[in-house]
Amino acid sequence: MLWSAAAIAFMAGAGSGIAAEGDPAAGKGKKTMCAGCHGIAGYKTAFPEVYSVPKLGGQHAAYIVKALQAYKSGERHHPTMRAIAAGLTDQDMADLAAYYATDTPRTANK
């Protein structure tokens, strides 16, 4: 039983194409800085332009990792996101992506 669970977990990891294996439970513990903006319905970023922050609940994990890496490298340059992504390791990004990609009952509507 444990063996087959491990095999499934391994295959899921191999198929996802994400370098680091994301753990949604670990991501939940790392989301403090994200929740202040992305956890509030209708929240808008104010600098350098005013517009609504994107919803993350249910987004593809691979895309979230790609976006965070682009912020860290400077390819995407929203100042707040650059500062936050600069402090994230590949493992942090994978964990956060796994957390947000999983749609749970905690998800607020809208």
């Binding site: 956890g39 919803k55 895309y63 809208k110």
Partner: protein, 106 residues
Amino acid sequence: MKKYLWLLACVAVWGSSAAVAGDPVAGKAKSKPCAACHGPDGNSPAPDFPKLAGQPYDYLVTALRHYKSGDRKNAIMAPQAANLSRRDMEDLAAFYSQQSGLKVKY
């Protein structure tokens, strides 16, 4: 009473158009090229391409504007956004923001 209802209807229409300038029906018609990667309703089936369904209207308009201006760089999105007018961006954003998919997750 009838007069009052008319007034209410006018206020409702004015209120909704102030929030979202785009036309979701026109946006759906213009979304055909987007569907190849982002899915017919913005729920992209491919993990590398972001889901757009339910994303806030003004986030989508801003993202498209940034792709067109070069502020946000992407080899696939740059040529797509280059051909879009402001009106096209608003219509597409109106369409995708009204589809159900993404949620605010706390």
